[in-house]
Amino acid sequence: MKFTKFAAIALTAVITTSHAAAADDPAKLNDLQIAHVAYTADNIDIRYAHLALAKSKNPEIHNFARTMIRDHNAVNEQALALLKKLKAQPQDNFLSRQLEQGADKLVAEMSALSGDAFDRRYAENELAYHKAVNKLVEYTFIPNIDNAEVKALFGAGLKIFKVHEGHAEMMVKALKDGKAMKHSRMKH
């Protein structure tokens, strides 16, 4: 099975399987549990990005990975600031744990790769991961969040992550075509 599909199916499986069991239903998580899932998902992507910086020699992969680290850290800082203001703590839950377990497997799998094989797998996973998380945030989390400020933060986060999804899509296409991305001439 291709890795892209694996990542998407793994996350979708977490979500759909959970719907079957009421206790493990993402739609029934409270705001603080949802915040924990989002924080965990951010940190997982940061972890993938650090792996990419260590393993890849492709400047476009590096650019993308640095953006993931910067943006996901920024979102997490916003989330933590809001929780502090609300005097609340994120609550660990089944979905956060399942995401962590899935990430452990993917990191082990990607660590065994190198060169173009690593780059393609990283890029494809980023696309699949952002697609799956965005779907979860848009259709399951945001409609179920009670607190208006938390809901607004997730709305802002979704905009960012959709931009990441588009960027990942460009990266996957460029790697498939063996060309540099259309906008990749300037380095920052």
Binding site: D71, V163, H167, M170, H183, M186, H188
Partner: protein
Amino acid sequence: MNRRDFLTGMAGALALTILSRPHPGIAAGSVHKVRIADFEYQPARIVIRAGDRVEWHNQDFVPHTATGSEGNWDTGNLEPDQRASMSFPTSGEFAYFCAHHPTMVAIVVVK
């Protein structure tokens, strides 16, 4: 043409090339503001006159850039709440994007 004339001509041509593309130097024209918010340039298309400036203001909570698609001009990193401006001395269409988020695209049209 002697060597001195040649070098003077080359320097003039180089200066013309540099000044004909967008640059951060001081210009006398109007300043047009582009807001960067919600991962978009607002407006995404701006029409100005030759010699005017465009000022970008990053209102997101992550850094962005305004980077020429042809690779010949760049505001550099704009941290949250930071501003930068460029002068557009010649007419033309100047597409640009964010180097960190390349799906963010916009254009400056200089009449």
